[in-house]
Symmetry: none
């Protein structure tokens, strides 16, 4: 573990920085907050993430939670002011910020490159949560120059956030996140981009599958340009391979479509051509199964920890109010809410996430109040 | 609604067929079950989905829940036995089963092609759930030949399952599901396929994003071959467009990587080359935002169409109730709700999505009631 820091400075109170701050506050750490946007600091302080940092007060450790292009300059600034003996960052790429920090003459012995794998499709301090890192991987990329005390301090900080340390070389890190984060993000955007010109009826048929595939496509393009532009080679490698598989599958499907009338190759019978095309598509689906199965753990999120109570309501003012009033009277805390309603239809489905032991109490209370609980 | 059926036969007790049966049982319908696999019928009957169908007893409506390639033969069989005046199916493609039913001489007046958009990554009767269709779209594709009574009966059935009817031409349906279901499935498989050869450390860094993108890649390849092989042209069209966007993005990223040393085009300065490449990547990300925002429901449309009112509240029962009561009194309709709270901390952030013209009214009403609106 190393010595747990008792005072931490967070530079950059966006979603990730504020989540780190909240997690540390929950462990009793004195957290100092700064951001180039004073409104972001005010918001973060208001939700209990810490107190504003005048920039002069000394801390045990500084967490630099700014976009990749600004990491090196921010670390140089913190080190020049001499307010933190150890710095870490949370940027999604590691090689370029490390090279930039070296070029700026930063003290690399006191800088531990870090990256918590806990992005969300939302940004800003309002989207922060203390449990964001719970059970999630958090990469650190110490080099031969990094001081062991600095590594121990950052490991202790990550432990306080409830995350699991993954120590990995910076170049291997950047290739890994291209595979498990950056290329999936671009691919989600490419699937979502197809929907821009889709007829309304197609959107009306959207189910959970396409919602899941495209969820991260809602991410901030500016923020993602900062990530992709700092990891271009590894991301391009993966995208080319994915594009190759998709082009081949399209070709196989067209061959399948015409196999009975015109085999793709002259030496093939129609049945042979269809078999080969079909085999090509099935091969990708099977490789998809295999790759998917390698991702450790189950899906995270509230759906697993909480019980869902679904209620069909009329889509009019006051309905949600009555539901939550009934829940409050029954002394049941609503942990999360999902509201699904289809434009043009009078009904909506509210899904209330509650602790398993509260589900029966809530259901009874709502039915007593005349609600249609499913 | 038309006359609600009181006795329904379900042919094919896989995940979808059994879910239909469970939903109908919950509404008191007498459900008869059949499947070529007797164990699947026994399992479905065991979880309360109905009773075995000897195949001779007459029903009001038959739901054919078999793979696309078997739909026409199954409908022909049900009609030949004269046990159901109306048939519908639940296959994910509609043109080919319809053509096949016509070729087999089925009575098209008594067959309403249908498709509930409610797939899961799991299959078989054990994965069935009565609420699978709640609030979900369910396409029907009547033709000029379909009888109005048959359509009314199937609409009533869909209503009993809690789903929303979307009436659409079969060809338009198949193009739509290629966009919102089939091509996203293949793309998820292609992203997951990249993980088959990935080093362990890369898998260790997998976060929620890649889990969401690849969730549906766990689907049964055999089942999906039956879907993709029956919709080859529309799926190939979408896959080619996605592959094109991914190849172009890979090219832009490589250009960005080398722009400072060698511009992509002879007439460009390094800065111009980098700007053009960067613009290309950003354009895809922005189109991804736009397309994603068109998907109705949570995490889709509301964020773009509605204004967000964030409120910091104490994390205790009744707080949400008071907020919604205040909104109801101010006659403001809450379109969506996002609740962020961090276990162990006393505060939570509620984000209310409202029509832009309602934001100021709601903010004023909440502040009057002492809420901390940001």
């Amino acid at each position: 573990m190393g010595t747990e820091p008792s005072r931490v400075g967070v530079v950059g109170t966006g979603m990730i920085g504020t989540s780190v701050a909240l997690a540390l506050r929950a462990r009793g750490v004195d957290v100092l907050l700064s951001d180039r946007d004073p409104a972001a600091v005010a918001m973060a302080a208001d939700i209990g993430a810490g107190r504003p940092w005048n920039g002069a007060e000394a801390v045990d450790l500084a967490v630099v939670a700014v976009p990749p292009d600004h990491v090196a300059a921010t670390i140089a600034d913190v080190q020049r002011r001499g307010v933190a003996p150890v710095c870490t960052d949370v940027a999604s790429v590691k090689v370029r910020p490390l090279v930039a920090a070296e070029e700026r003459g930063c003290d690399l012995g006191a800088y531990v490159p870090g990256h918590p794998l806990a992005g969300r499709e939302t940004s800003g301090p309002a989207a922060a949560r203390a449990d964001l890192f719970l059970g999630r991987p958090w990469a650190i990329c110490p080099t031969a120059k990094t001081g062991p005390d600095a590594v121990a301090a950052v490991r202790a900080l990550i432990g306080m956030c409830g995350a699991n340390v993954v120590e990995v070389d910076a170049a291997a890190h950047d290739r890994a996140v291209a595979l498990v984060s950056h290329a999936p993000h671009v691919t989600a955007a490419a699937v979502a981009a197809r929907l821009t010109e889709a007829p309304d009826v197609a959107l009306g048929l959207a189910g959970q599958g396409v919602r899941d595939v495209t969820r991260i496509a809602a991410g901030d393009p500016g923020l993602w340009m900062g990530i992709l532009g700092n990891n271009p080679g590894p991301v391009a490698d993966v995208l080319e391979a994915v594009a190759g598989d998709l082009s081949a599958t399209a070709r196989h499907l067209r061959a399948l479509d015409t196999a009975t009338t015109s085999p793709e190759h002259a030496h093939e019978t129609p049945a042979e051509s269809a078999d080969r095309a079909s085999g090509g598509v099935a091969d990708l689906l099977r490789r998809g199964n295999t790759g998917r199965a390698r991702i450790p753990g189950k899906h995270g999120g509230p759906q697993r920890e909480f019980t869902v109570v679904p209620i069909v309501i009329g889509d009019k003012p006051g309905e949600l109010g009555r539901i939550f009033a009934a829940a409050g009277e029954a002394d049941v805390n609503i942990e999360d809410v999902a509201l699904e309603h289809s434009p043009g239809l009078p009904a909506a489905v509210v899904q209330l996430y509650v602790k398993p032991e509260s589900a029966a109490i809530l259901t009874a209370a709502l039915r007593e109040n005349g609600f249609n609980v499913h």
